[in-house]
Symmetry: C2
Subunit: 558 residues, 2 copies
Amino acid sequence: MFDRHRDTFAQAQEACRTRACWSPFPEMPGKYPDTEAAQARGKAAFEGQLNQPFKLDLPGVTGRTGEEVSPYTQAPLAITYPQADPDALFTAARAAMPSWAGAGIDTRIGVLMECLDRLYRDHMFEIVQAVMHTAGQSANMAYAGSGVNALDRGIEALVYAEAAMRFVTPTADWARRFGSQNIHLEKTYRLVPRGVAVCFSCASFATWNAWPSALASLATGNAVILKPHPMSVLPMAITVRVWRDVLAEAGFDPNLLTLCVDTVAEPLGKVLIKHPHCAMVDFTGSTTFGQWVEANAHPALAFTETAGCNTVVLQGADDLDAAIRSLATTMCMFSAQMCTSPQNIYLPPEVQTPGGPVPRDEVAQLLVAAVAGLVDDPKRAAMILATIQSPNTLNDLSRLAAVGRERGTVLLESRPYPHPDFPNARTATPLMLAVTPSERDLYAGECFGPASFLIACDSAEDALERATVDVSECGGLTAFVYTTDENFITRAEDAYASAGAQLTINLTGAMPLNFAAAYSDYHVTGLNGAGNATLTSLAFVASRFAIAQSRRPARAAS
Amino acid sequence: MFDRHRDTFAQAQEACRTRACWSPFPEMPGKYPDTEAAQARGKAAFEGQLNQPFKLDLPGVTGRTGEEVSPYTQAPLAITYPQADPDALFTAARAAMPSWAGAGIDTRIGVLMECLDRLYRDHMFEIVQAVMHTAGQSANMAYAGSGVNALDRGIEALVYAEAAMRFVTPTADWARRFGSQNIHLEKTYRLVPRGVAVCFSCASFATWNAWPSALASLATGNAVILKPHPMSVLPMAITVRVWRDVLAEAGFDPNLLTLCVDTVAEPLGKVLIKHPHCAMVDFTGSTTFGQWVEANAHPALAFTETAGCNTVVLQGADDLDAAIRSLATTMCMFSAQMCTSPQNIYLPPEVQTPGGPVPRDEVAQLLVAAVAGLVDDPKRAAMILATIQSPNTLNDLSRLAAVGRERGTVLLESRPYPHPDFPNARTATPLMLAVTPSERDLYAGECFGPASFLIACDSAEDALERATVDVSECGGLTAFVYTTDENFITRAEDAYASAGAQLTINLTGAMPLNFAAAYSDYHVTGLNGAGNATLTSLAFVASRFAIAQSRRPARAAS
């Protein structure tokens, strides 16, 4: 299988080296080969799975469960998944590892490239439908963000895993004099997988983190137990079924990848993490649980990606309208249910523009108008906002609006909007609050969903200072600065690098501000509370295997 | 400084790639340039420091302390070291970091290569004396193991750190179409050091782990607080003084490297580890504290190397006498006070040789005789056994001998031997016990010092099984197998790779069995309780820095 994917893999390696733009996949669903037929097949495959048991062989099945509710219809998907006994999953995973670990790097990379390719060729629009009706993403985002971009992040993880493994020579010829004697040894270095990895996926964006995380573990010879959020199982269940098929076709034990489904009422996450055979944990989800994982996974290694407050500092703009448009669009995208969505906007008293300074209130009104304009038309709202994944988010929004009215100013109320295709869709337009830094407890942390804060600061320097302190103390993945001052850029780069947020400067136009390109954009620095694992750095892969050596007197005449 | 060391560094890179034998340093003290004069200067430098305050500038000094006692004279060194307030050390370390982090990879590597070179050129025999009179090593081991081999491990760490950092391109040119619009971005990727590292060094072998650990942190832009064992401060104090001078000469803040001296009665280790600004911990020392570090260092990263039971399995030998000689020598070396010393010898009822099977009791007697023969002559004993670092080790040996008499057979009693040059030296010949697996609690863990167990097993397979289970469950760094059966080698390689001990097979002759060559032999797998950090893998360096990116619309016409 490696030969089949050799060229693509080589291109991916080059992309990771240069971090220039590259992808083997078309970004738009319309450019997918024979797209209409493929989309119809994907929809049919999805619908054929509703209201019945999901077909998946797993070891140690003890029952079935399924709690998913489509954010688009607010009706249960009524799919039941096999529930497996954790002990049985670990036992099966460990039994599956030796032949996989012994198979060699090329074989594993080839099989895993085939896993990704199989998803792309045969299941892309089935995944799209599954993501829509669990996470609530729009069809376009489900295809791009949860589909091909996630496949790209998967290939990227394979590139890094391969590079880290290749860094270890398999053999060495070693000779030295000790006193009057020559000692000549042959040495072999074996890559030993760390063990069974438990990979959590989150409710709102399951594939984008789970695919690269699971592949990083598998590529380095480990087995993986996938633990999806109970409200967002289907994308992972399809993944597990497809990859198990590919593994089996390639002659390996499919129990290298299993699924552990739990329920909201009876979560199994801690049971899996504290299992004596859990060697690694990849976690994407809430900051609270992520920090528990980091502190308690030991002796398992923990790789986390959680959340924080993503910050915007608006010192000035060459084209303020364009900056406002970009900000508004990105704040609305998928109702800000992305870990990269901007939330806190730090505003000085005046924003500098070529036409002179613009007062803060005016800037705020421009931003409010831009957001309101984007979501007024239900059809456009549906494309950008999509739906709200969890009913909890609506409750949180209501509570925040009430507090915001008391302690600040509600600049824009959140309300449901009527989805043109799904009349029962769970929707909410953005809530925008104006506050002062004395209300910091309101915004010092992630408010999941479409809520943002316009924070009145004393100056642009004060804005930058407050923003980066908040990132350091409360976590943060992305940051956005608009400025007309090159020195301010330098200071912002320094401050955000220390705080550990990935910075985008003065970006306007069609690209979503928080778009993170595989092979190019590093995701999460590990320098603040928003997670400790970077997609994709060597550190993300290099500790997933160990190096065991054997040495003996040389046998050859060499 | 990088230019001065470029050729050496390039050769080290090549050695790490091939893992063939290489070192820029002569292994024997007699081959050191103008060795007699250098040794005399080193001895004078050491003696000039006795009985007085150690000259070292540090921030936040609050007092002085010093508790070292020479294992050779059992007299206090009476050197007092400045004690610094931990808060002041962290504050100074953090202040020193920005210019160092901003200096670039070549600059840092050059300065740190100079640090190692300076130790070699101007302080090697001062280090030798300091190691002898704190750790109690022989002069030859202090020169080789704690001197040039440790310098080699330092260079090796620099090679890996440099490779991990070079893996991140500093800039990228990225362009993509979004809809009808071209987005063209310039991206910069900055390596951000993780923060202040606390580097512990152990009493018996301070330099070999601490130099590479500290250098891995420094190379990646961090600052380091060195925390030596209070009974073994001098080698680290000299290191800190020399490296601070080099850093300052190169124009950097010497507080990048400081020393934190504590006392046995009032240890500061946990204070340093739980300090809010502690970002990384490198720990070498006891398994108990090492496991506490692993479990409690969070949010700091933990890199540990502790101990375990190093195992020997004797299935057979082409030349049994030669195998016995090698085992006996290695068991005696530095009174088995090395984390790589063999301790547990698993014996089948018969050991296979070309002349027929040899009964276990006979093999045991051969080994006892070989050990006894090595230590009978005080002059040879002094060269091999050297001294006992800690009085606690003598107490442990007495207790173990008493228990061993009750629960097994004492094959060889431990006794002091008269050191020919140091009549007051703290010495002990090896204690050898014969036991059955029912006494496993005696040997399931490290018995620090010259104690070994001959364990009666049912068969060679039983011996291999017990040995590798003990490694898995109790930790273990090295393993030694002698066999005449190629299939047994294959099974041993598999079993020890899973258990995570670095295996040496059928080695006889002049090389100490547990000799670990920098650039070639990986030290610690991380797969069992003997530590989680490998000298040197990418995982040892790759998480010591983070990657912060900044992207903005491209300015050039490119």
